[in-house]
Structure formats: C-alpha cells, structure tokens
C-alpha cells in the first residue's frame, strides 16, 4: 500500500468511526441530537445520559471521566468532547496523553494537585467504602510517600508523570479495543 492509499484509508477510517460514534451519540438522545452536523449545532448531552453507557456503567470513576472531558467542567459533553473521550480511552493513545487526563480524573477538587482528600475519594470509589478510615489513611500516606518528589505532601502533575514513567507496565485508562469494531 503506498502513501496516498494509506492516507485515503486513514481519512476513510476516521470518517467511518466518527460516523459510528455519532450514531451512538445520537441514540442516547434522539430528540436532541441532530443527524445533520453541517451547521455545527451547539448541542450538549448531560452527564446522566453518558454515564449510563454500557462501557462506562460499571466504572467507579465514570462521573470524573465525563467531567474531565467536558468543556464547561460540569459534565455535559458536546460531540467533539465525546469523540475526544473515546480517543483518549483507546489503547493507542500515548501514555503522556493518558497521563494528563488520568491526572485530571483523579483530581477531584480540580486544584491541579492530587492531595490527600482526592486520594481518599479515589480509594473509597475503588473499594466501595469497604476499607476502614485507618486503612485509608495508611494507604494515602504510602501513596504520597512513594510518589511525592518535591515534598509538599501532595502530588503535582510532575510527580504523577514521573511515577508513571518509572514503571513500564503501568496500564490504565484502556477501553477494550473491540469496542471500536462493535460500535
């Protein structure tokens, strides 16, 4: 396959995928989402609809994921944000990109730091609040101890990125690749 053919294939795939993602976006709210996007309508779907998608339903961080990708920070996604979200969750997105969004997701109070209260919320979501308060405190202390480089008691983005780059087997934010084929 030569370069032009490859490019045509890439563009073709892109449009096909966007078309299919649009189908999913449309079927969540058929009355609101227009089929015709040529006039660039300003349509946003509320968080409640997005987090009920089967791919996100069982995810403990679904609200934070949707909030991180929404432009207004409140969780309503335009179609552009929707496509962005599934792009970052795909397995081919590079780790640096995933790291940026992972940091946003785990930063519950959006102060650009993962502090102790953010970690506590993360742990509670992960274990469905089955850990005792003492255990949660201990784990938070351990995490900060392992990752905090500048010693300010909370994790900045540099600390987070550093921790991820140290460990090559750090796999996160990966949605099943067959999702894209079964769209």
């Amino acid at each position: 396959m030569n370069g032009i053919g490859y490019l045509k294939l890439v563009i073709g795939c892109f449009f096909l995928l966007v078309y299919r993602l649009h189908g999913r976006y449309h079927e969540m709210a058929p009355n609101v989402v227009p089929m015709d996007y040529t006039k660039d309508p300003d349509v946003k779907l509320p968080m409640q609809l997005i987090i009920n998608m089967p791919e996100l339903k069982e995810n403990p961080f679904k609200e934070r994921i949707v909030e991180s990708f929404s432009e207004d920070g409140e969780g309503s996604l335009s179609f552009n944000d929707f496509v962005d979200m599934f792009s970052v969750l795909s397995e081919m997105a590079p780790r640096e990109l995933k790291a940026i969004y992972a940091f946003k997701i785990y930063d519950f109070n959006t102060d650009n730091f993962i502090c102790k209260s953010d970690l506590e919320k993360t742990l509670n979501k992960l274990t469905r609040e089955e850990l005792t308060a003492e255990e949660i405190t201990l784990v938070c202390e351990k995490v900060i101890e392992e990752a905090d480089m500048d010693g300010d008691g909370k994790l900045g983005f540099a600390d987070f990125e550093n921790m991820i780059s140290k460990d090559n087997d750090f796999l996160f934010l990966h949605i099943n690749k067959t999702f894209y084929i079964n769209l």
Binding site: M1, N2, G3, Y6, L7, L9, V10, C13, F14, L17, V18, P54, K57, E58, N59, P60, F61, V83, D84, S87, V88, L89, S90, E91, M92, A93, P94, E96, L97, A102, Y106, L119, T122, L123, L126, T127, R128, E130, L131, E135, L138, V139, K142, V143, E146, A147, M163, D167, D169, F170, L171, F172, L173, H174, I175, N176, K177, T178, Y180, I181
Partner: protein, 632 residues
Amino acid sequence: SSFSSHLDCQQADIKYLSGWKQWKRTSSKSLKKVLNEVKELLSYLELWRHDIHSIEGKFGTGIQSYFSFLRFLVLLNFIIFILMFSVITLPSIISKYGIFNSSFAKIPPKNIEPHCTVYKPSGNKGLVYFYTYLKDLFSGTGFLKETSLFYGYYTIDTAWLSNLSYNLPLAYLLATFAYLGLSLLWIIKRSVEGFKQNLVRDEDQFQSYCNKVFAGWDFCITDPNAARLKHRSLQYELQTDLEEERLKQKIADRTMKEKLRIYSLRILINIIVFAVLSGCFYSIYRATVFSQENSNDISNTNFQVNLLLQYLPSMVITLANFIAPQIFSFLIRFEDYSPAFEIRLTLMRCVFVRLANIGVLLFSLWSQISYCATDECKACGYNYELYPCWESAVGQEMYKLMIFDFIIILAVTLFVDFPRKLLVAHCSCKPVQWCGLQEFGIPDNVLEIVYGQTICWIGTFFSPLLPAIATIKYFIIFYIKKISLIHTCKPAARPVRASSSNFFFLVVLLIGLVLAFIPLGISIAHIPSSKACGPFRSFNTSWAVVPDTILGFPTGLQQVLHGIASEAFAVPFFMVTCLIMFYIIALAGAHKRVVEQLREQLVMVRFDPLVCTPKVFIVVSVIRHAEEQQFL
C-alpha cells in the same frame, strides 16, 4: 505537519514487493486465516466450554481455573486409558479369543521354583449370593480379580496375528513409561504457558501502592458481577499489603528475647507437626497390616465386616487427610509468619501429608508382601502363599482407594453441604448464622483431586483399566462440584487470581507425579515380579524384560544403546542441555525487550498538542486491529 511528514517517511520505506514475495505474503496470510478458523472450530468442540465460561463470569477467574484443571484431568485420564487399552488390553483380548485368526503363546518360565508359580485364584464357588457380587465390585476381589481390570489377567507372552508377533510384556512396560512421560510432558507444557504470561506481565510482587490505586481498576469491565469481584479483590489486595507492612514493622521491632521465644516456639510446633505426621503414618501402617491379615482369613464370611475390613486403610487415610490440615491451620497461627507465608507453609504441609499417606500405604503393603519366614518363601522373593499375584493385590488397594475417594466426595456434598445450606436458610439462630455457608476452598479441592490423580498414576501399572474409572469419576465430580458451588457456597471473601492459581495447581500435580515415580520405579526395577501371574512371570523383575529384548537386537544397535546409557555420554549430554536452557532463557529476555520496543514504535505520531488531537488515535487503533484481523 508532523503527521504528513511521517507518512512521507512511511512511503519511502515501503518497497515494491516482487511477485514471488507477494505470493508468499498472501499465502502466509491465508494460511493464518485458515489456522484461525480451525482453532475457532476446535474451541466449539471443547468440553464444558459454556459451563466454565459462565462459572468465570459468576465466581471469578480463580474458581474457573479449578474447573479448567478438572477438565484437563478428565482429558489426560481418557488419553491414558486409550493408550493402555489399545496397547495392552486389546491385543490380549483379541488373541485370547482368537479373533482375526490370532493366537497367543505362553512361554513356560525357566529356572523358577515350581511352588512360586502355583496360582489358584479363589473364585466364588457354590451358591453365590447377590451381595457377594456387590462386595466383589467394591473391593476388587472375586469375579473382578480375574477380569482385565487387574494385572493378573495379562498372562500372554506373545500374541500372533498372521505372521506378526507382538511382545506383550515389553508393550506393557513401554506403555507404563509412555503414560508417565505423556503426563509429565503435558503438565510441563501447560505450566510453560502460564509461566510465559508471568514473564511478559510482571505480577504483583513489585506492584506498589501507586500502581494499585491509580492503575488498579480495569476499564474493560462491563459486567456488574465482574465489577463486584474487582472491587473485592482490590480491597483484599490493599488490606493484605497493609498487613504485610504491619508485620514487617513488628518483626523489625522484635527484641532479642522475643526472637528467642518465637524461634523456640516454632521449633516446638514443628516437632508437634512431625509427631502428628508420625501418628498418621503409624496408624495407616497398623490399619493396612490389620486389614491384610484379617481379610486373607477366609473364615470371616460376614459381608459387612469383610467390606469394612477391606476399606479400613482407605478410611484411615481419609480421616488423616481430613484431620491433619485442620491441625496444621490451627498451629500455624502461633508461628507468627506473614499471611502469604502462612498460606504457603500450610499448603506445603497438607500436600506432603496427603501424598506421603499413599506412600506409607504402599510401604506397609510391600512389607506384608515381602515378609518371609520360610526358605521357600525367600526363594520366590515374596510371600507366595498369601500373595501369589501380589501386583493384583496392590492394584486392588489402589482400586479401593479410588472408589472410596469418590464415595467420600459424593457423601460430603450430599450429607454435609446441602443440609448445611438448608440449615442456614431456614434456621435463624445465632451459632448457625455465624457459621454460615461454606466457601469454595480452592486449595482443599485441588489437593483432593491431585490425591486422586496420584492414586491413578500409581495404580495404572497394576490395573490397566483404572484410568477409565478415573475419567468417569472426574467427569461426575465436575458436575457435583459445579452444583455444590452454585447452590451451597457463598462468594469468596478473598478473590484469587487465575495466573497464580494455575501455576500452583500444576506444581502440586507435578509433585504428585514425581512422587508416583518412586513406588512405581521400586516396583518395576527392584521388587521381584510374581511368578504365578502377569506378563513378567518369566523375568526376575518387571524391568528385566528390557535388557532381555536388547540382547535380541543386532550387535551394532546393542553397542549404541550401551554407549548411550554410559557416563561418557550422560555428562556431556547434561552440560549441553544446561547450555541450551540458558540460551533459551536469554532469548526470552531479548524477545520481551523487542516486544516493548515494538509497542513504542506503533505510535505513529509523537504527541504534539498543537497538531494532534486525541481523535487520531482511534484511527490508528482501528488500523492496527484491522491488520491483525487480516482485513488489510
């Protein structure tokens, strides 16, 4: 933009393929497609595929791996049965009944005391009651002893089919080695697959808290049950890690006085464990001796008592296998080890007790068989009066062990698990509710079936059709365990991971197989074979048929075989094998690095927020997936 410039590089890299190379490429692609389709078709034929899949969804990968293990044992036993039947039983039956114009030859044994060869099987004479047949069925005596189930049936030395001669004794011995070798290779093959996965993906030994918190959740989960299991397993992992930390701190804080106390306590507990083991072994020895002495006494014709006596060793072994692990798990608490080490040590002790019990039974059997008071007895090498056909006697013991094991599993499920469930469901008093439903204990269940499989491996030499019984037994046990799991078990508090489970199952099975080699090796090579029955009547020991056959080979081949068996060959062979092993390990490490590098290379563009939006990466993912599926 960087994207289009990268595509230009791609274009320059792609060479125009010549016609031959294109054909090779398309043919290899279509071959891969065909192989994939064949694999998919074969997976539909897999036994219990749907059952195991549904168990995985509801109960997690740890329990699912137990059932996959059970399926593996069913298949293994079936293949061993086919092997033994076609190589040993079928030729015997064909030539004995003269089918296809076959005949057999019985070579009279030379240089052997005549009194050793007298064999009057005590069949049922006169009026035979129905319960005699039942007793014979359960204890392998009477009419069952004369069937092809036991060693004593195979008295043919050569079978003739037109002009082809078939050396049955040699076939018998080689079939034994074949089934042992087949089991070994198959187990190693399965454990290698699990080991490979461990190699590429480093398991939890080095995972830190950060990894568990930030990368712990699997984003592919869409099933609520799987999600619940994942939450539980994450919770358990974090709790275990914290406990290990606490214990490490405690150990570091120990004073000299405390250390002394702990070590002396551990020595004391190990002595107690040793005493418990000795108690088990001695009681098995006494039970076997008592059972053998009294069941040979023909005057005892009471049906129930006789059956009880026959099954006495099995009952004592089962009791020991039940009590000893309880004692071990009680004692280990005082030894103050870390939780992971506690589990492993208890498991090792249980494995040892279960497998050593079989060894003690065989040892006590052999001590009975070889007990010689008179000179005539010493001339035969074994007690020819009580055990004219001692291999069949050993086969009978293994048969009884297997039947009793099956009965116990059935009885425990019917009379303990289901009543317990009914009690918990209908009685709301505190002690019952505190006890609650049982959990599906994977290590205990695995040890149970490994114990059964070890009996099968040892017993197949003495009873060639035993693998058929084992196949049917494990087949039924699959359904029993599945029903028991679904209806009487509560979900596990500590979800177990599949990869570590698989490895543990296969290691324990391997230990069982290696332990089975020992009594078989001694029986074949060291103990004189019985002269009154069986294929090895004319030989000193069962192994003697091999040198005998080699002497019949042409001289050149004999010299080659002697050369291979000598040290001059063995030592360089061993060194070369070690070198090859090191080379393969180094190659595996190199491949792992290449895999990682290729992963990096597959990212087509360097992330640049001005140029690349996240959308591009969906496209790349699709292209890669399409390439894998051969659409491109």
